[in-house]
Symmetry: C2
């Protein structure tokens, strides 16, 4: 296996933006999308960064599944809430628009919630939830994912690998950032397993079309379905499935779309997604400074729990990603396959490869 190649985050952003412009994405949208893709790589969410640029976004724009110049529309019937139609735009562009709207409404009333239909794959949900942090708000982002979860009692892929993210300002270094698929693991863990040459994955992640445990990452692509968080019914599968359906309701039904389980069986729906964004203004509850200090106190309480033998520290959600971000600020290590796909894009679209 070839070793990783380290690239400069700024150059990677510029390169990605140029590539997106070559397929018709307006400059501002291309730059925003590139920044959000690289932000995922910076935080170590390699499954949702530039590795997707060619195979997901550029491919689907060229095929006509993603609209590079969407007419995003918004309807609102209450001060704190709105519905957005993304016109099949890039999920990054639509998501940024909708989360900005949620933050604006939370600034006015204390809470803002926006449900989004007709969007597409928006990358890492935490990118949007974290937009709330500099505004001293709690950010919430949910999105439908692929139709890859097996529902308890069913066989095969049926429910959405739907995602929940919540970001909370914290005094000190790392904000609390939860970003989780409602399955045991995200589907992209299989892409990464394959890319890194792994031949087995842990039992308990996925099942085959008969419902038997599946541990070969190659087989997953053909006939695998991901188990809901909780795994089997006796260990809480109904909870993971319940969370997946909850996300589907808030993203799809509340936005005037249909269940992701129905949408993704219709023709021409590659990468289609619905989202739900929310923000709570901390000052609407208590002074934001006092809150951030109290958060730091809470973090300390969890950090100080007794540690199991061999465990160096206890991690809260977002802390690992924050550490990685500090390391990667001056260079992001990319898999050679990802580098190759970027070089291909450069050649194909006539963009200089300068990473």
């Amino acid at each position: 296996m070839a070793s990783k190649v380290t690239v400069d985050p700024g150059k990677l952003t510029q390169f990605s933006a140029k590539v997106l412009q070559k397929v018709g994405v307006p400059e501002e949208d291309a730059e925003r999308t590139a920044r959000m893709l690289v932000a995922a790589d910076l935080r170590g969410i390699d499954s949702h960064g530039v590795s997707h640029l060619g195979p997901l976004y550029i491919k689907r724009i060229k095929e006509g599944f993603i609209n590079p110049k969407p007419q995003i529309r918004m309807v609102s019937h209450a001060r704190a809430t709105a519905v957005v139609d993304g016109d099949r735009g890039l999920g990054f562009v639509v998501g940024h628009y909708a989360m900005t709207e949620a933050l604006m409404r939370a600034g006015q009333t204390g809470a803002g919630f926006v449900s989004v239909r007709n969007s597409t794959h928006c990358g890492a949900a935490s990118t949007y939830a974290m937009m709330a942090l500099p505004k001293n708000m709690i950010g919430i982002a949910m999105t439908t994912g692929g139709r890859g979860m097996v529902a308890p009692g069913s066989v095969g892929r049926g429910a959405g690998i739907n995602v929940i993210s919540v970001a909370v300002p914290t005094q000190g270094n790392a904000p609390f950032v939860l970003d989780m698929a409602t399955t045991v693991v995200a589907g992209s863990k299989f892409e990464i397993a394959l890319r890194s040459g792994q031949t087995t994955i842990p039992k308990g992640w996925a099942v085959d079309k008969a419902g038997k445990p599946l541990t070969d990452p190659k087989k997953y692509a053909e006939e695998g379905a991901l188990l809901p968080l909780g795994g089997l019914p006796e260990t809480g599968a109904f909870k993971g499935f319940g969370l997946s359906v909850m996300v589907d309701i808030l993203c799809s039904i509340l936005a005037g779309s249909v269940s992701i389980s129905e949408l993704l069986t219709q023709p021409n729906t590659a990468l289609r997604a619905n989202h739900f964004f929310g923000a709570l203004k901390i000052d609407g509850f208590m002074p934001a400074d006092d809150f951030a200090r109290a958060m730091a106190g809470m973090v300390k309480v969890y950090h100080n729990l007794p540690r199991a033998p061999g465990v160096e520290r206890i991690y809260l959600a977002g802390e690992v990603e924050h550490e990685i971000e500090n390391q990667r600020r001056h260079g992001i290590p990319l898999d050679p396959q990802v580098i190759a796909s970027l070089q291909e894009l450069a050649a194909e679209l006539g963009v200089e490869y300068d990473l």
Copy 2:
């Protein structure tokens, strides 16, 4: 094992209200609490119904841990949000007050969120989330639970068995009602296992003080800790733990309290709890009738997924409870131990036992 005794829901409510009044709870609060307790039994949530009346609520009121006549106070700094101090009142009384406030605010702005400190055990979280249903709103209720979850990387009880509930109006019979502890199972499953004479519980629910699997329900009380939803780190334990901390933030930190992991190690905190209630007005997104119809369509999609051999139907969150409620409307079967505890209460407090 003696067989169950079926009691009339109306009489059970009246009896419970009289018992609560005998220890100083005002009539209206006692009736509200009794209705909410019996509502849990009606929906089959036997772990959170009248079985708790004597051993939890009456006992703790008499010991002075629960204040039967709280002065509930509210502070609000934004139209959509507020903080409530429950003055150590019964969680049912405090919770009903705070959820009513969230619903009122959602009626005005489209969204309402209320964080609650200084409250106590409030029973089943879904009781509050479901208050949103007749108002055509989506209801959200979270509460801290006992300090009984083992955090990933730690040993012993450390994090909260915190709970999330979401209720969504649905055309037809059963509303979508998710009500889940963030552990693999709720702690009360062990009480029920003991009450029903079970000698083993499934591996994957709990661990002993060394972190080894625990399958003896008697041992759980002495030295057990519940695994977070997801079980072990490789199957998503960080997600269950992350959800638990998220609930702690919204209930405790946002309300001006401290982490439940800290609070419950302080003296005199038996049954103390913090809550978080929210409501989203559906009309703020789309016409509520269209939404309820679309929900029914979504339910059908999930019901129609292919079924595994031997499975009769696929259940969405809340459907089992709804079926039980239809059966129990005319009689609630109670364990003989629960009947005995009610008879004891009657004798002790001078209330006629007429169930």
